[in-house]
Symmetry: C2
């Protein structure tokens, strides 16, 4: 308890944009998030008061940080699971806990558990499947296992690092065993998945409290380019309501069965033949729900704080019929507007100038900057547009994001 406010203290390990936006939301609830940062320059560390600089891989640092926190939660999934177990054994309330996080940290474990839940009936899965997959590392001859798996499901295949991948990193599409030789030789723990024929990607985001209350946001479309999420559209346009309900039901079931507390993001493939397949899980606020800051009555950041504090959850209804988030990806790049190219006859403007122009041209688009250095392709912020016309809202979000990062285009 914070003796000043009489309210519990939430500690968040990690000080990236998720912690930054969680802190923003926590302020309204009378909270001042306690943050464990790698560096005092981290995006969340530069906006919060109670910042501890330390190493999330070091149990002593974690223990010292947790002292005085009523609950500890995470802005990423890289804290060693055994440290989370040790914290809990030392009496720290950790949300989500190590059993749940295991499935966000280890893709092979996630695939096995999700496949089991999918196969369990009309109940859990209700028509949601896993892609076919195999744990190569579990085999004494991973190369032979890959060849056998390829013969079964067909080439090309997708190889994934079991741990640590994000934003397209740790994922390889291979046409043959020879093609996979280098990755296999690297010693990275790997699983192989069938390369499904994807219509688009979706996300079903929910939050669950320790008490067991669950709240679901509308299922969204997450538009990917070069393996990076560039846009999120809420709700997913034209999605069969029956499929949307199945996806929400599945995410709720997963949250309950895995004992997730806080936000759970379930990334899904919608296949060209109309099936939904589970892609990835994340157990923290997630890029696919940044649109909720303005687009839902309760943002994922407020909801995550409510959930880990075991407060009742907020309503998740949309505040506008169409909400589109576009990521701000450090320029120059063409991810948002593949047809456009930089104008070479125009002197590049500073970020501050580009903010001016963006605000002038799109006065209703909401800007979110993460206080991060610009590196090409790095997520340094996002913008959100709201309205009623899908075409118009998407166009405004994408144009504003592209201008903010890349300036004038021809």
């Amino acid at each position: 308890m914070d003796p000043r406010t009489g309210l519990p203290v939430v500690g968040m390990v990690g000080a990236g944009q998720l912690a930054r936006m969680t802190h923003q939301a926590a302020i309204a609830l009378g909270q001042s998030l306690r943050i464990l940062a790698d560096s005092a320059d981290d995006g969340a560390a530069v906006v919060a008061t109670d910042v501890v600089v330390g190493d999330y891989r070091d149990l002593d640092d974690l223990r010292a940080f947790a002292e005085g926190c009523d609950v500890v939660t995470w802005d990423h999934e890289h804290v060693p699971n055994e440290h989370i177990v040790a914290l809990r054994e030392a009496g720290v309330s950790v949300h989500p806990g190590p059993e749940a996080l295991h499935y966000a940290q280890d893709k092979a474990a996630m695939r096995a558990r999700v496949a089991q839940l999918c196969s369990e009936s009309a109940g859990a899965g209700r028509g949601i499947d896993s892609p076919r997959w195999t744990d190569l590392t579990a085999d004494s001859d991973p190369s032979a296992a890959l060849v056998a798996f390829g013969a079964e499901v067909g080439w090309p295949l997708v190889l994934k690092a079991s741990r640590g991948g994000y934003d397209g990193k740790g994922v390889w599409v291979v046409d043959s065993a020879a093609d996979a030789a280098e990755v296999l030789a690297s010693g990275t723990p790997l699983l192989a998945e069938e390369k499904v024929s994807i219509k688009r990607e979706l996300a079903a985001d929910v939050a669950r409290s320790p008490f067991g209350q669950v709240a679901a946001w509308p299922v969204v479309e997450t538009v990917q380019r070069d393996g990076i999420n560039v846009e999120v559209i809420a709700p997913a346009p034209g999605l069969d309501p029956e499929l949307a309900a199945r996806a929400q039901h599945f995410a709720i079931t997963l949250a309950s069965e895995l004992g997730v507390t806080g936000v759970l993001a379930v990334e899904l493939f919608e296949t060209t033949d109309g099936r939904l397949l589970v892609n990835e899980l994340a157990m923290r606020p997630h890029n696919s729900a940044h649109w909720t800051i303005e687009g839902s009555r309760t943002s994922q950041f407020e909801q995550h704080v409510r959930a880990v504090l075991d407060y009742p959850l907020g309503t998740t209804e949309q505040t506008a019929p169409v909400v589109v988030m576009a990521n701000l990806l450090g320029g120059p790049h063409n991810l948002l507007a593949p047809q456009a190219s930089p104008r070479e006859d125009v002197t590049p403007k500073s970020l501050d100038e580009r903010i001016h122009h963006t605000m002038a041209r799109w006065p209703d688009v909401k800007i979110h900057l993460y206080g991060k250095g610009m590196r090409p392709g790095r997520k340094v912020g996002h913008v959100t547009a709201l309205g009623t016309s899908l075409e118009d809202v998407r166009a405004r979000a994408v144009a504003a994001a592209d201008y903010l990062m890349n300036g004038e285009r021809s």
Copy 2:
């Protein structure tokens, strides 16, 4: 400029809830507000990184604080005007500046200037008036001046301290000169105003940038009880659109004529005979626009930051047809629910427990706590409800605020 972000640095003098909520909004714009606090325990000081503890009445403290700020703004109007002049002379960009702030700091000066603008034609005032008033302190015999003014406009009269009043403090209703003797003898600089017959109070809130752009929110009703604002209803229910447009036009004219930068709140009386009279001015984010956090596409806090940075302003449209804010006033009190009384058979719950129950019962009501100690009648937070039915939205906002402060009622 912040070398880390390449963005300008905004300093805010004062660390109350206005700075706290401004910081919350500023984070999205890539800002980390620099705050001058009286104490490290102030509401904004406990949620921001860049906090300087110092005395806003001390020019040296102000100068040191302003060092490295691209613009300095205010969360209250108590900074001595001559210090603001001195800061500007030292090259600090101050918004709003001393000429404008003079009219928020000195009620006699404000009354004189507003009366002049109101009398200037169909132009500025367009049917907005001042109450009749006189500056008692300017008279060599204030008591005689009061008697003469009472004979002219009728008793009772309202006495106001020219400086420093808020939340009903510094305001006295007197029935006679004898009744006023004690206040007159205190030496407080005073003005007297006719006691107008009020139907209700309104506020016209706008923001203006140094460039001269102005944006207006819908005119709201501010419900008062015992001189304290308890509820704000947006838009003001049943307000004649012609009167609403006049009020907005007047606020925009005032902002331009007085050279206000940032948010300007114009508090108005709607009289029983259908006129609008100016009550008070504030040149900072204002309680009457807290509803804009969720209720407008651009909150007053974001807008204030945009305005003082001379960024283009955001759109001010409402996000729901009816938005109601209810203040959280430290209990126990009956301000929100005058008919109710505390239940003496129920053990009072802690704030944390009351938050639980409030969230469970009103999952769509948004809670904002200011991190302030509870004193009876003190504003320690607010809640906001949104919807389409005025009756329903008001009932939810008021019930949630009353429960959050007072617990069970019979």
